[in-house]
């Protein structure tokens, strides 16, 4: 099953299970989204539950917040994560704060799905990975699946969660295949997954960068360097314990994330490691994220901005000496 199919299956199963669940967004019904992730859902659930909206991201996100507060469980589809800018007031000032501002009386059980990731030659406004913005805000949870299995289990948890959850899917990974069991399952938030066990260096990677880290780990193997690859799966809540334990075990850590390196997820996780495992470290924690430039269009330029397995490999070798 592909990652895209896993997301669709999770949505379909949750919509069957709970009639309060609905999806809204641009071109999601008959079009099935521009990435065809939701193809076919409208046939089963109808246009009322797979709701095409005007191109009004703030508006339909705001409606989802209100619907969530009053008994529905909306899933909002934001076509490109870059459009997060348009929904920020609704997500940050409304969804994230409603529960707290009301002293716990109101809740906002909604999911905002969005895509991240570059390398589709889509240029600066359709290629960013802006999940760190949401992870910065108390009241939100931020999910970054890297496999079909994780995508399905995490999406189900997201829909069943009583908090606003932001769910980022890497648009380049929709075709990634992986095993997904037939039975119903969920994956709890805040539980990292060790994608590969190793002893010499820990590579903490999210979303699109998990595959990059795994490829780098294979390259390192040839140099007798055993890399552990850990996917936090949710950057908030963050499974600090697993990350710190691995750091203590291997003594060397690289954090790879496709968001901007500066003030980003890599910075946060590097701090967590530094605070939690400092006296077990053999080397400074290395961050690898997107270059601090708007994502360029021209292929060779775009490729230069995004972390690669070669870059991770090189960094790991340098840290291992």
């Amino acid at each position: 099953m592909t990652l895209g199919e896993a997301v669709r299956e999770a949505l379909a199963e949750e919509m069957r299970r709970d009639s309060r669940v609905f999806i809204c967004g641009e071109d999601i019904a008959e079009a099935g989204t521009v990435f065809k992730v939701l193809t076919g859902l409208v046939d089963e659930f109808g246009k009322e539950r797979v709701l095409d909206t005007p191109i009004s991201e703030a508006g339909f996100t705001g409606i989802a917040v209100g619907a969530a507060m009053t008994g529905m469980r909306p899933v909002v589809d934001i076509m490109f994560g870059d459009f997060s800018t348009l929904v920020m007031d609704q997500m940050v000032n409304q969804a994230a704060k409603v529960r707290y501002m009301s002293g716990g009386k109101c809740k906002v059980p909604m999911v905002m799905r969005a895509t991240l990731g570059a390398s589709r030659r889509s240029a600066a406004q359709h290629s960013q990975s802006l999940h760190a913005w949401f992870a910065h805000i108390p009241g939100l949870k931020v999910v970054l699946p890297s496999t079909p299995y994780d995508a399905k289990g995490l999406m189900k948890t997201a829909i069943r969660d009583d908090n606003p959850v932001v769910f980022f899917e890497d648009k380049m990974m929709y075709k990634l295949k992986g095993p997904v069991p037939a039975e119903d399952y969920t994956i709890p938030f805040g539980v990292a997954d060790i994608k590969r066990v190793g002893t010499d260096i820990t590579i903490i990677a999210t979303s699109s960068m998990v595959q990059v880290a795994l490829d780098a780990a294979k390259m390192l193997e040839e140099f007798d360097i055993s890399a552990e690859v850990i996917d936090p799966r949710t950057v908030w809540p963050l499974d600090e314990k697993t990350l710190i334990e691995s750091a203590k075990k291997t003594s060397r850590v690289i954090v790879v994330d496709e968001g901007y390196e500066r003030y980003g997820v890599t910075a946060e996780i590097a701090s967590v490691i530094a605070e939690g495992a400092f006296f077990s470290l053999e080397a400074p924690v290395k961050r690898i994220g997107a270059m601090h430039v708007p994502i360029p269009f021209s292929p060779p330029l775009e490729d230069a901005t995004i972390p690669t397995e070669r870059q991770v490999f090189g960094a790991a070798k340098a840290l291992c000496g």
């Binding site: 470290l281 053999e282 340098a318 000496g321």
Partner: protein
């Protein structure tokens, strides 16, 4: 582990002179410890019973770490606590004092200790936990960073290597110190060398004349070195700058004339000191020299035996060396290298003659003395050797 000398960071336990459970009297020798410079007997600091011996022969232990307990009879040693192992004392770099001892550590090693070697946080923690001196570890990580593995290897090394050959980098502080100090001297002291061939017939006569009485009275055979120590000490009185030190404030004249005699120990050479040699009788010099030699051979030199020298004599005559250039032992200003005595054909009153000849080579610190001053000293020494007044 007691601190036995200035700048000492660790001590190696050579042997325990008492066993666990033995009754101990305060002041009695308890164990032997090898420092950078010497092997020292450590005396018991209290009456009681030796208990809880934690460090064993061959262990290198940081200063301040508990190695054993002296307890009252029936008392048990306290439970093991890692907190009892403080970090090695911090070394503060001081200019060598004229009246005290040679600079204990080289500038290079000082710099390393001051700024600290590049070391990972993990390695630093492990070093503290295991009581390993990070200054003794060569890092194998990126840019020479000391890694946790390096520390663990260093911590494991003494125990693992104990029965077999010593790992020089860990075990022989003396060898390491020699390496550091000669390097420092060779690279930082502006050496210049003067050579003089001297007829030593008179010296040999003096030895034959004075030797039997001294051997009879004091039980020691005088050597050429003893004679040279005595003569050099006398000549140095007239050449105080040759007996001076180079320090932070420039030239410092030393009030005493303490002659160091270079002596081989297990894997290095040390300068064993005959203090106030200018005031000592030849017999006393010979006895002191003999005692020092014996202690050096058995690795039992005490810190005081090797500190405070103001001028060094190094004699390789017994190794059939004709002449050689010696390296000055800072902060001393000069070292006299003594070659063998051999019969040579030389011109005497315009005619060839066979005479017992010896080559003296004087290395001097040009910051302290110039060529002429050193030449005058060497000339006066040569005259004293040709007509010894002993």
């Amino acid at each position: 582990m007691p601190a036995l000398e200035m700048a000492q960071e660790t001590g190696k336990i050579v042997s325990w002179l008492k066993k666990e459970g033995d009754a101990i009297n305060k002041g009695a020798p308890l164990l032997e410890v090898e420092t950078d410079k010497a092997v020292v007997e450590v005396e018991a600091t209290a009456d009681g019973v030796l208990a809880g011996v934690k460090s064993h022969e061959g262990d290198v232990v940081p200063v301040g770490v508990t190695i054993a307990w002296i307890v009252a009879p029936g008392e048990k040693p306290p439970a093991d606590s890692p907190a009892a192992a403080p970090a090695a004392r911090k070394v503060t770099e001081q200019p060598p004092q004229a009246a005290s001892m040679p600079a204990p550590i080289s500038v290079e090693s000082s710099a390393r200790r001051e700024g600290g070697p590049q070391i990972s946080p993990k390695a630093r923690r492990l070093a503290k936990e295991k009581g390993v001196d990070i200054n003794r570890i060569k890092g194998t990580g990126p840019d020479g960073t000391i890694t946790g593995e390096d520390v663990l290897a260093a911590a494991a090394a003494p125990a693992a290597a104990a029965p077999s050959a010593r790992a020089p980098s860990v075990l022989s502080g003396i060898a390491r110190l020699m390496a550091e100090r000669t390097t420092q001297s060779w690279t930082q002291v502006p050496h210049f060398v003067l050579t003089r061939e001297i007829d030593v017939a008179a010296l040999q006569q003096a030895r034959e004349k004075l030797g039997p009485a001294i051997e009879r009275d004091r039980g020691v055979k005088i050597t050429v070195t003893d004679l040279l120590v005595a003569l050099a000490a006398q000549v140095l009185k007239k050449h105080p700058k040759m007996n001076a030190s180079w320090g932070a404030n420039g030239i410092q004249l030393n009030p005493q004339i303490n002659i160091s005699v270079a002596m081989a120990v297990t894997d290095a050479v040390v300068g064993a000191v005959i203090p106030n040699a200018d005031a000592a009788a030849l017999a006393d010099i010979a006895v002191q020299r003999r005692n020092l030699t014996e202690r050096a051979r058995s690795s039992r030199l005490k810190p005081a035996d090797v500190t405070g020298g103001t001028f060094t004599i190094s004699n390789l005559g017994m190794y059939k060396i004709d002449s050689f250039n010696a390296i000055i032992a800072p902060p001393q200003a000069a070292i006299l290298a003594v070659g063998r005595i051999a019969d040579r054909v030389v011109a005497v009153n315009g005619r060839p003659a066979v005479r017992p000849m010896m080559t003296l080579t004087l290395s001097s610190d040009h910051r302290v003395v110039d060529g002429a001053q050193a030449a005058l000293f060497l000339n006066d020494l040569a005259e004293a050797i040709r007509a010894p007044e002993l």
